[in-house]
Amino acid sequence: MTKSRLVMGPILFHWDENRKRDFYARLADEIDVDTVHVGEVVCAKRMPFFDKHLPDIIERLQNAGKEVVFSTLALVMNEREIAQLREIAEMPDLLIEANDISSIGLLSGRPHVVGPYINTYNESTLDYLISKGAHRASLPWELPMSSIEALCNARKTAEIEVQIFGRVPLAISARCYSARAHGLHKDGCRYVCGEALDGMDIETLDHTPFLAVNGLQTLSSHYLELSTAIDDLKDAGVNAFRISPHTLDMVRVANLYRRLIDGETSSDEVRQSLLEMQNDLAFADAFLHSLPGADLRETLGSRAE
């Protein structure tokens, strides 16, 4: 059996240039990560800040032996964004991640990966996407284990990827909720989304942590943490595991999950180490169990041995 792929997802938050460059520079020297995503997924307005650095970063990561994937916008709404997408789709020798159906159309016939924002819910859809050139499909976060298993059985030569760590993107809108919370309009947003490096915390009126706002995107407050399900996911046929960037030491996080996937550490140890890095982390894993995504279940109760 080939080695499972460890994937660093795209940076979802509006980090400043230095933070992003440091992040990618460290990843280039990090052996545990096989694939690194670059590119803006959430808001086209953020692109000008970092686009100029991308060629150097991509080259550096590739020279370090990483597979680099260029992630694209999850919600494409106008001609300017379509034009940007066309430009990206024409870049040679680069694997591109489609996150909106428009990019599936533009990438048809050339090798690409299908991102988790594309609704790959069943075998027929996966089959179609593979026929258009998808090498890998990163599955939507709300899928239960039974769907993941069925999709793995239908994947042919394509890889199936599942996110195992990080806040879960739950929704995307044309409206900017970071700007709205600051009393601003999207067109004059002052890039206030950049103030919340892991997303702006949203609590219920009873002070229960609930969601996190990241510009147009709404994420879970809890961090998805699927270490207890790694063996089941591997058995099902999942062969790529995504961790999503946050401000905690992602090189260390990558190392934890690499060792977990390779059977060199336990789920307990992973969680304990994560809490040592950030003691207020709350974990969730229950989408996998067909329960509320915010829930945390320890093991797969229904799994037949």
């Binding site: 919600l75 709404m77 159906i101 859809t125 409206r175 067109d187 009873d206 915010a294």
Partner: protein, 325 residues
């Protein structure tokens, strides 16, 4: 513009037809449609009768089969498409790529519409669905502005249908797992959002709390009207301030901009609300019929008298005005 109206029951369908609908859309009584609520929707014989009744009055019927088929159970969705075509509906409204391909291959003559749940928000996505699956009409996401819709219509060859009245999704439809995060059930997989089985109201001394799953969605003072806890319409706290972070409890109403929508090239107007009763359907459909007739007669200055039916008694033109964003 064609007036496309909802029906959750045969009685509502008759009410919509009598109130002046051009088209009525409905769903089968299972997870294949995005309003999978208890006591709602149509059995196969009910749909067959409904189609006969509507056609006799010159009204079309569309069948929404617009959730995402569950892996391992796709045959349920295939059967729904087969049955709808056999019954003779005038279009099938679909969202899932796999199901679109099935429908195109199995029923090459059927008219396929793209559901709003597919979230086709740009020309390239719409062209894709047209080219690959022969989709003839696309229901546009409620995230687009009037200007964006106008530009889109100039560049695509398929018809567009937009939401005219009713509940407002503030998130891109078909891309939202907020409901399943709190309840385990989502629009895409289960055809429900913030489902009633997970709703609880808790009376406190000077307030009423509405909860969805384990989460408080709003707290109402005794002088406030208690609303249904749809997740994105809740009151939450951010940066030590409480408020409606995503959207106020308002409803969409485009009556004031009907001429602009027609001018932007829109083919059809969709009224949301298959979960609504027949009195509501009669009133809303009747009001829109009257407004459209006035415009057709060259009269201007249409105003809605539907405020009392709106959520929170407040209306909005939503994303159609860019200031909404």
């Amino acid at each position: 513009m064609e007036l496309v109206c909802p029906a959750g029951t045969p009685a509502s369908l008759r009410a919509a037809v009598e109130a002046g609908a051009d088209v009525v859309y409905c769903g089968f009584r299972d997870a294949t449609n995005a309003r999978n609520f208890p006591g709602l929707n149509f059995s196969r014989p009910e749909l067959a009768n409904a189609v006969t009744f509507a056609h006799k009055h010159g009204v079309h019927v569309y069948l929404a089969c617009n959730t995402y088929p569950k892996a391992g159970s796709e045959d349920i969705w295939h059967k729904a498409v087969d049955d709808a075509v056999a019954i003779g509906v005038d279009a099938v409204i679909l969202a899932d790529i796999g199901l679109l391909r099935y429908a195109r291959d199995k029923h090459p003559d059927a008219r396929l519409h793209l559901s709003v749940q597919a979230s086709a928000s740009n020309e390239e996505a719409i062209r894709f669905y047209h080219r690959e699956f022969g989709v003839r009409r696309v229901v546009l996401p409620r995230v687009l502005s009037l200007e964006e819709i106008r530009m889109l219509n100039r560049r695509i060859s398929v018809e567009t249908e937009v939401f005219a009245f009713g509940g407002m999704c503030v998130m891109a439809e078909g891309r939202c797992s907020l409901s399943s995060y709190a309840t385990g059930e989502s629009p895409n997989m289960n055809g429900v959002c913030s489902p009633a089985a997970h709703v609880h109201y808790e009376e406190r001394v000077d307030s009423t709390v509405s909860r969805l799953g384990n989460f408080t969605i709003n707290v109402y003072g005794n002088d406030e009207k208690v609303g249904y806890p749809t997740l994105c319409k809740g009151r939450f706290r951010a940066m030590d301030k409480a408020g409606y972070l995503f959207e106020e409890p308002t409803s969409l109403d485009v009556t004031a901009i009907l001429p602009e929508l027609a001018d932007a090239g829109v083919t059809a107007l969709k009224i949301e609300g298959r979960q609504r009763g027949k009195a509501y359907i009669s009133q809303v459909v009747g009001a829109f019929r009257a407004s459209l007739d006035r415009i057709a007669n060259g009269q201007t200055g249409t105003r809605s008298n539907l405020a009392a039916l709106s959520e929170g008694q407040a209306e909005t033109t939503g994303a159609y005005r860019r200031s909404w964003q």
